[in-house]
């Protein structure tokens, strides 16, 4: 018999997970209530029971490469039903936070996002870039007349600086995600080796593109998130923010088409479809943010824990959206220098939101998508209502045992 895998707890990891939101995790006594009430866990090797044990035991490598921490949407059903108050949902969130920071490339940016002490630094970077940008563009002066932002700073500068850094960030994220993908493969191989009969079904036989399309479709429909019991409002709030963000993204794209393709440099009137789309998106974001914030404040520390990691993203969104509306309002009603300054502040927060994306909680967008895609490819099928679990092409193999038997 091959030597059984050695278990080596990492005390530092235990401490860190407890510090960033999983402080109650050691109370878990592995009853499995979390797993049995979870509406979105797969039947084989379900979560979060095993993650709870691994976290208590400080099994860092397993958890970092565990797709399941991302298959969880943190609806909190498990925390609500946990008889020990171990808050599995919060532990899963802490694990995700840790994973984002861990996979971050370059690593120091991960650290920057982990503590409020770095906030001045985070804001200094875009300000500095802005100064450099103005220097490149030939100096800073408030243009006279009707407010059109291109007069202050050519859009091409914003594109170059902003997108340039965005690109760097995304390259970093790509490296992290690649490691994550390989890690998940290794993780699954290890699990299979340790527990052959409990292994997930065979890999799905479909093209990569088809998998991507299917996962995107699921995400657009919030298919998994909507299964959450305790946090029905959270799925709605998430959807508002999600679609609000997409609309704003689309509006930004539309604005660029006006600028570069149609050559229309002036700010658009409110009646323009691009502005309408943008404003609807912004309003949706605001509604979503109000809901999210109220939700987190109302639930309070006794029920669920909101960490700096959570609040950072929420505040980044709030600041970006509020300064966006403020910029629009000042531009239309006040004009002059005030309008330009508000706009610059808005640009700083948009930068914060987008450039730090792979290192903040916003990175869940990348990791969850990747994990969902991997899970679909790996046949780690989710037993959601309304979806027929396809028979693997290698039908005839004995069906894996269902239910939480471990």
């Amino acid at each position: 018999m091959a030597e059984a895998p050695r278990i080596n707890p990492d005390l530092g990891f235990v401490r860190e997970i407890r510090r960033i939101g999983g402080e109650a995790m050691k109370y878990c006594y592995q009853c499995g209530t979390c797993t049995s009430v979870c509406p979105i866990t797969p039947d084989e090797q379900p979560f979060p029971r095993k993650e709870m044990l691994w976290a208590q035991w400080g099994l860092k490598e397993r958890l970092l490469n565990d797709p399941d921490i991302w298959l969880c949407h943190g609806c909190g059903d498990c925390s609500a039903y946990c008889p020990r108050g171990a808050k599995p949902s919060e532990v899963m969130a802490a694990l995700r936070g840790y994973a984002i920071l861990h996979h971050a490339v370059p690593g120091f940016l991960g650290r920057w996002l982990s503590s409020p002490a770095y906030i001045p630094l985070l804001l200094a970077v875009p300000v500095l870039l802005m100064i450099v940008g103005f220097a490149l563009a030939g100096g800073f002066s408030i243009p006279p007349g009707e407010v059109h932002y291109y007069k202050l700073i050519p859009f091409i500068v914003i594109e170059l600086v902003g997108n340039g850094f965005m690109l760097l960030a995304l390259i970093g994220a790509g490296i992290g995600l690649r490691r994550f993908w390989q890690g998940m493969n290794a993780h699954q191989a290890a699990l299979r080796a340790a527990s052959p009969e409990g292994a997930p079904a065979a890999a799905r036989e479909e093209s990569f593109v088809a998998s991507v399309v299917a996962v995107v479709r699921d995400i657009l429909a919030h298919r998994r998130f909507r299964q959450c019991g305790e946090a029905k409002p959270r799925a709605r709030q998430h959807a508002l923010m999600f679609y609000g963000f997409l609309l704003l993204f689309a509006a930004s794209g539309g604005r660029l088409i006006y600028y570069y393709v149609l050559g229309s440099h002036d700010e658009l009137p409110l009646s323009d479809p691009v502005k309408i789309v943008g404003n609807i998106g912004g309003l949706a974001m605001i509604l979503g943010l109000i809901g999210v914030t109220a939700n987190r404040l109302r639930r309070g520390p006794g029920v669920s824990t909101s960490t700096y990691f959570d609040w950072f993203l929420i505040w980044a969104f709030i600041m970006a959206v509020v300064t966006g509306f403020a910029a629009q309002g000042v531009r239309l009603n006040v004009g002059g220098a005030a309008a330009y300054y508000t706009y610059l502040v808005h640009l700083i927060f948009v930068f914060v939101l987008l450039i730090y994306l792979p290192y903040s909680k916003f990175a869940h967008l990348l990791y969850r998508f990747t994990a969902l895609l991997w899970a679909r490819r790996a046949g780690r099928e989710l037993s959601l209502p309304g979806r027929v679990t396809p028979v693997p092409a290698s039908a005839g193999a004995p069906a894996p045992p269902t239910g939480a038997t471990t």
């Binding site: 005390l11 592995q30 691994w54 699990l191 471990t406």
Partner: protein
Amino acid sequence: MAEKPLVYICSGCGIGEAVKVDQLCALAEGELKAAGVKAHPFLCGPEGRQLLAGDVTQGRPVVIAACSPRVNADVFRWDGVTVERVNLRELVAWSQPGGSQAAQHLAEDYLRMGVARAEKTESPQPTPVATSERVLVVGGGISGLAAALGAADAGHDVVLVEKEPQLGGWVARWHRLLPQRAPYRDPQPSGIEELIARVTSHPRIEVLTEAEVESTAGQPGDFTVTVRRGEERSEYQVGAVVLATGWRPYDAGKLAHLGFGRSPDVVTSVAFEEMVRAGRIARPSDGRVPRRVAFIQCAGSRDPNHLPYCSSFCCAVSLKQALYVREQIPDAQAFIIYKDLRAPGPGELFYRRVQEDEGIFLAKGDVTGVHPGSDGQVIVEVEDSLLGEQVSLEVDLAVLAVGAVPATADDPALHLRYRQGPAVPTDRYGFPDSNFICFPYETRRTGIYAAGCVRQPMDAAAAADDGAGAALKAIQSIRMAARGEAVHPRAGDLSFPRFFLQNCTQCKRCTEECPFGALDDDERGTPKLNPSRCRRCGTCMGACPQRIISFDNYSVDQLTAAIKSFPVPDDPEQPRVLAFVCENDAYPAFDMAGINRLQLDPAVRVVPLRCLGSLNVVLIADAFSRGIDGVLLIGCRSGDDYQCHFVRGSELAERRLTNVQETLDRLMIERERVQLVHLAISDFDRLPALTSEFVAQMKRLGPNPYKGF
């Protein structure tokens, strides 16, 4: 024969609506020739009580036909007056359709049986035992110390016998005890030295160390105990005994599969505790301080090949010992691998506290092997845990949490001079046998009460409480013996079996079957009575083929008279079934059925028994000779998880029934006409179906062939 009784019939609580009370009165006056008959609408009310108080006189039995004998016992009780209760309320009015002819017949038959019983009842004369007030405590561990102090503080002289040179037992060898006070977070010093000092300085306690009980003779209130110290023997008269001989750890030598003996760094939890108490946690192999320590739970426990039971304290002990590791070794890691973590009572709070420690790792799993690693470590193989199907831990020291074996498993301790042998009877695990749920501290030797881990595995705090509890039971048994009363479960019963020894054939069934070893042999081989050992269950009465054993108020003769007191119709459509019912659980179940207004088959006549063990098989023969169509025996569960209040009564009834069935075969009576049923009080809802199905079966069988003879 006793006087004719006075009969009082209550028509309250629905009895008056269910049956014709005037007809019952007429029956009592006429056929039953009662000395007086009165009906009253509210017999237990002030007026009714006044009526009764004016009538009852010494020497004349009274029949109260009203509610169950299980209620209003204090109302219908007068000193020196025999009272028979006829249960017209629960057994008739509340369990039969009102006004039916069948219900009337049932009530009449119960009244007939009540009067017949009353006529065969004497007021029991107590059999007091000359009493020594002294309590013997065997074992000087924490239970024994607490028992000695408890009894002494209550004013009893105590002899405390300890086989070791020092008092204190295991607890004196522990570093810390499990937390015993809120908030139950920290292990605490045992304080055993103070307890020992209080015991040794107590004027009422005589401490004998390096001493053993050589023999124990006699009975509660009057035991003669010989204690041996070295070559010196001394005799003590004691009234009762607390058996607190404790436990020993399960022999780790049998746990080679858990690495014991294969690596010096695999130790038992007892050895580990002693190591900590000695001052330093170190590996026995090289004296190095271990950085990683594994605690392996259920080492031999809950394992059919070793100790099949749970020892209850080992989990909490390992939690405590994991804390030692964390407190004494910086940055150490402690692993606890368990089957189920069981920390009963406030142990739950302690468990949570230990869970908080980041360096203590708990996981459910099966330890499949422990073996030495290549570099002097110990490898622990774990299977079927959430950590993986097969994982291993590399540790510096492995601690086996071994379970408790009761001292009584192989040591008779008291060396009883009883006909049934020197040992207190034990269950299959070696613990003193008892109906421990109903009667903690009980053993099957009256006046001898088990306390602490010899009774069941428990932690030190519980063991101390146990000692105090057993001391109280010991004192109680001394007092009751002095008054000639039975101890539990028939507490206060003054009746006592009388043996008509002229007719004894010395078959010894009574002496052998008595669950409590109450009977010895006298010089001629006939039963020698030890009244205060007796629990008054009547098992001897059920055993005796000569029917020479009777109580003043409970006898074969009396039951036969009751069975023969009512007419059995010849009509095959009207079968009659007799239900012999244990008073402890089954009879209350009938009451419960009535209280819940469940309908019972009116063909069934209930005859209460002290215990199914007191059923003499001759009664079954009597029933069939009377033309009864079927006999139900309803008693408690027997076997390993017996519910019998007299431990072996229901088991003996079952054994006797097999003999009865052979007799039935000879008489050409179908075996199915006698059925034995186990019924707990909570099974009362089974009674309607149980009775009606049995009656239906009797109808299918047709009438008893002896009917009408």
